[in-house]
């Protein structure tokens, strides 16, 4: 590919990677605390539609963003209530959340189908930096949400691995009994992280409806929630690696799209398989090499019951 074609392609890869980066980093937080939430797709959809509606109503995309975060967070709250308080099955609850979220988003967004956004996010050109050849147009002519997603990923990485809060969160996912014994409220940590996961998924959804597409239609996410779940594993539960993975997966999506518009539709399906195949590959390699569950939090998916004897 020519450089002139490569630059817009890479820029597009970042844009395509951003919604899954938001969602995946959120899911990393939830899973690190021990809660598997397969409802990412549903939470993203609710975030997307809430962000879109409120932006239309208020004419300001920032109020839309807040609404999207609230929407995703509320969805996650349902999951947290069922899996933490009621110790319910996390896989089933996550699947139910996806069904529910698809329904809620379709219901809410019915009259907004296909409308243009009132106030879309547009690329902001970072002075000076954007003039750097090649890198400038790729990295520094993006919309502000792209930067926020990177900052949040970095921030959550720092939180997880360099702070006492991170220690607390990881302990809840590794050995909740140990966390409980030193006075950490496992339930509170898991609630909080699950809700953070929902807020981030909501942001990812809003990125689609307010910046990437930017419009609303039913099932707008088209499986990106599931890609985010894959990305969490691909990144081995580490927000830093999620950044790289998100742009890789985004690149695959951008390439598939390009091939499709160029009329080479067939091979795009094979490209679309790539993120999933890569995730399996990474999982196999790491598991075989480390001879354990590939860095997955040990108590992932297991409800914690203090008085269980």
């Amino acid at each position: 590919m020519e450089l002139s074609a490569l630059v817009p392609f890479l820029a597009a890869a970042i844009v395509a990677g951003t919604p899954i980066l938001f969602a995946a980093v959120g899911e990393v937080m939830a899973e690190r605390s021990g809660i598997l939430n397969l409802g990412v797709e549903g939470m993203m959809l609710v975030g997307a539609v809430m962000g879109f509606m409120i932006t239309i109503v208020t004419g300001n995309h920032w109020t839309g963003i807040i609404a999207a975060m609230a929407g995703g967070g509320l969805m996650a709250l349902i999951h947290a209530f069922i899996t933490v308080t009621l110790k319910g099955n996390q896989v089933v609850s996550g699947l139910a959340l996806t069904i529910f979220g698809t329904g809620v988003s379709g219901f809410l967004g019915k009259s907004y189908q296909g409308m243009p956004t009132a106030d879309p996010f547009t690329p902001c050109v970072v002075p000076l930096l954007s003039d750097i050849p090649v890198l400038g147009p790729i990295l520094f002519k993006q919309d502000v949400l792209v930067y926020i997603s990177i900052i949040l990923a970095l921030g959550f990485w720092f939180l997880l691995y360099r702070t006492s809060w991170g220690l607390t969160i990881r302990s809840a996912g590794e050995n909740p009994a140990a966390a409980d014994a030193v006075g950490i409220s496992v339930s509170r940590v898991r609630y909080l992280c699950t809700i953070i996961g929902g807020i981030m998924a909501g942001l990812g959804g809003a990125y689609l409806s307010l910046a990437y597409v930017p419009s609303w239609q039913e099932n707008l996410t088209a499986g990106r929630g599931w890609i985010a779940v894959a990305l969490v594993i691909f990144a081995l539960w580490n927000p830093l690696r999620a950044i790289a993975g998100a742009y890789l997966f985004g690149g695959v999506e951008a390439l598939a799209f390009r091939l499709q518009t160029a009329g080479i539709q067939i091979s795009s399906f094979f490209l679309s398989m790539l993120p999933y195949l890569l995730t399996i590959l990474v999982l196999v390699l790491v598991t075989v090499r480390l001879r354990q569950e590939a860095g997955a939090p040990l108590a992932l998916g297991v409800p914690y019951d203090r008085e269980e004897r």
């Binding site: 896989v91 699947l95 529910f100 999933y276 399996i280």
Partner: protein, 353 residues
């Protein structure tokens, strides 16, 4: 002042086992009632239409059964893996691969007699699904690779693969640009019951349920699966070949999901196309879980879910969007999940100070 405590139940009476799910469903219906009224619909009429749509006439009832068949099979498929604590959430992908292989046979050998063609399609569907379930099985058995993730990932690979076929090499030139394969020859159609769309798949599902019940409860191999599912350590201690059983169970689980795909293309769509399954593989997980992995309960729960799906289509004619059906479905699940808690725990009020 009173304190609220949760106490784990030791042994459940039949009463609790029955009353809790019923209460859950009643509450879900009540929630739906409020939601429908709030969103400006006539809740009573909607429910009546739903009920009518699902079981109101012979035709509607038959449509419910048609929807329930793939759910029965998908639920049975994953239930076997779940028995061994193998979280096969790849029923969807295995279903697509089964549909693909069965379609391949149907398209290639269309003039073969139905007596030969249908068993061959069934076998191909089973084999393709088995391979799709077997790969995660082998990875899990030999290298402890988490099967939840691999099966989930392979779903997408399978769906994209079928999309590739119907958009590409298998696309019917006569389909006017739609992503559809050519229509199968009549020999590849599953026999149906009278004038309905209820096909032989129902019998196949029931046979599999009976087989599962017998195998799990009365055979040596079923005993091995039950032991391995409760404790792999105990299984090794008993001299059970756990590695072999993991692979075997994943092969059969995937295979039956593959049969589900075969039955959908051979019994319903009569061609390969995109979206042959609106998530039967996933709903199958829910069905199996709700049925607590009991094969006969799976048949029953699948029927209820089929009714919910068909009833949902019914109310669309009233101008109620399908989204509302999904919301109601989600709510039913949430209430059932919450009910699980009350099945396992008792809430005790004690006088505190």
């Amino acid at each position: 002042m009173y304190k609220v405590r949760m106490v784990r139940r030791e042994h459940n009476s039949m009463w609790v086992e029955v009353i809790v799910p019923i209460m859950s469903i009643i509450l879900a219906v009540a929630f739906g009632w409020l939601f429908l009224s709030w969103s400006g619909h006539d809740a009573a009429a909607t429910y009546m239409r739903m009920l009518n749509g699902a079981i109101g006439s012979k035709y509607n009832l038959s449509e419910t059964v048609v929807k329930a068949i793939p759910l029965m099979l998908a639920g049975l498929a994953v239930s076997l893996a779940f028995r061994m604590k193998l979280w096969n959430i790849g029923g969807e992908g295995q279903l697509y691969m089964g549909a693909f292989a069965a379609s391949g046979i149907a398209l290639a050998c269309g003039d073969m007699s139905a007596w030969l063609l249908l068993p061959l399609m069934l076998l191909a569907g089973f084999a393709a699904g088995a391979i799709w379930g077997g790969i995660p099985g082998v990875l899990r058995a030999y290298w402890q690779v988490n099967e939840t993730i691999t099966t989930l990932m392979l779903n997408y690979v399978a769906i994209f693969w079928v999309s590739y076929l119907v958009f590409g090499p298998w696309k019917d030139p006569a389909s006017m640009g739609f992503p559809l394969s050519a229509r199968f020859s009549l020999n590849a159609y599953l026999p149906v019951l009278g004038t309905t769309r209820v096909h032989l798949g129902l019998i196949i599902a029931i046979i599999i349920a009976v087989l599962f019940y017998i195998i799990l409860n009365y055979t040596r191999w079923g005993y091995e699966i039950r032991v391995s599912g409760e404790s792999q350590e105990a299984a090794r201690y008993a001299g059970i070949n756990v590695t072999r059983n993991i692979i075997l169970v994943m092969l059969i689980s995937g295979g039956i999901a593959g049969v589900t795909g075969m039955i959908e293309v051979s019994g319903i769509t009569h061609r390969l196309q995109q979206g042959i399954s609106p998530g039967y593989g996933y709903t199958g997980i829910i069905v199996a879980w709700l049925a607590r992995l009991n094969p006969f309960a799976i048949i029953l729960v699948a029927f209820l879910f089929g009714a919910l799906l068909v009833g949902g289509f019914g109310i669309q004619t009233m101008g109620i969007s399908y989204s509302i059906v999904l919301i109601l479905q989600g709510a039913v699940l949430f209430f059932l999940l919450a009910g699980e808690f009350f099945r396992k725990y008792r809430i005790v009020l004690t006088k505190g100070d």
